[in-house]
Symmetry: C2
Subunit: 113 residues, 2 copies
DNA sequence: TTAACGTACAACCAAATGGTTGCACGTCGA
DNA sequence: TCGACGTGCAACCATTTGGTTGTACGTTAA
């Protein structure tokens, strides 16, 4: 249901790692409402263009953003489905807990009711 | 509301980074339903005790688990509130999007209705 | 047609990460 | 009481990460 069985652990590692950096979270939030070019983004941070470009690449590899070419520009937009997926994953941990508690109930309570 | 304003970016980095490792996610899931000792955990993975201990330390620093001493053992349990927090954070990204869309509506539509 | 722009990528570097082994020390059980 | 157990921590190592500068190359505008 949640786990589409064998969404590689590596992919999840990448997903969460991509979120583990303030600059990347900011890029992500920004690309949620706008569709900035990589240079647009680079202009907003106190680091080199190449550094920002690398952050964008990390987000892209994690599947959290998409790039679309427009002439010489690359326009960045957030992949909301993928972002949502990260949230679901965390909910999943909660659900594991609920499930097991339910199973425990099954053991402790008479079957019928 | 969500952002308790100045939950340090560093803390968020730590939170997501802690989640970005399969072994740690497994420890987390396991500690959600049981309260294993560090050795119990270590026995389940093909790495040294010290390595597992380090993973536990990472989770603890991120606030995702708590340890409780019981004689010579340290019993590990998940801090569900903190885990939930990570999920909320991701929802927050979604909400940013919704908010901005709403603001856009404010601009585009007559005020009253 | 050229200069400037936007991007990609390689080479390099310091610091952090994820693993190891070894040692110290308190606790428990025989 | 004493050996084994559970833990914490330091030292070490290889790899990854997050940053830099420099170069190359297609695109755009004057």
């Amino acid at each position: 249901m949640v786990a589409r069985r064998k969404e590689s652990e590596e992919a999840l590692n990448q997903l969460f790692r991509a979120l583990a950096d303030s600059t990347r979270r900011d890029i992500l939030a920004r690309s949620l409402t706008e569709t900035p070019s990589v240079s647009d983004l680079a202009a907003r941070y106190e680091m080199s263009f190449a550094a920002v470009q690398k952050h964008v690449a990390v987000l892209e590899r994690a599947g959290l953003i998409k790039k679309r070419a427009n002439g010489r520009e690359q326009l960045v937009s957030t992949n909301r489905a993928r972002l949502k997926r990260a949230g679901e994953l965390l909910d999943y941990f909660e659900s594991i807990w609920r499930q097991r508690m339910a199973q425990l109930d099954d053991v402790l309570l008479p079957k019928g009711k």
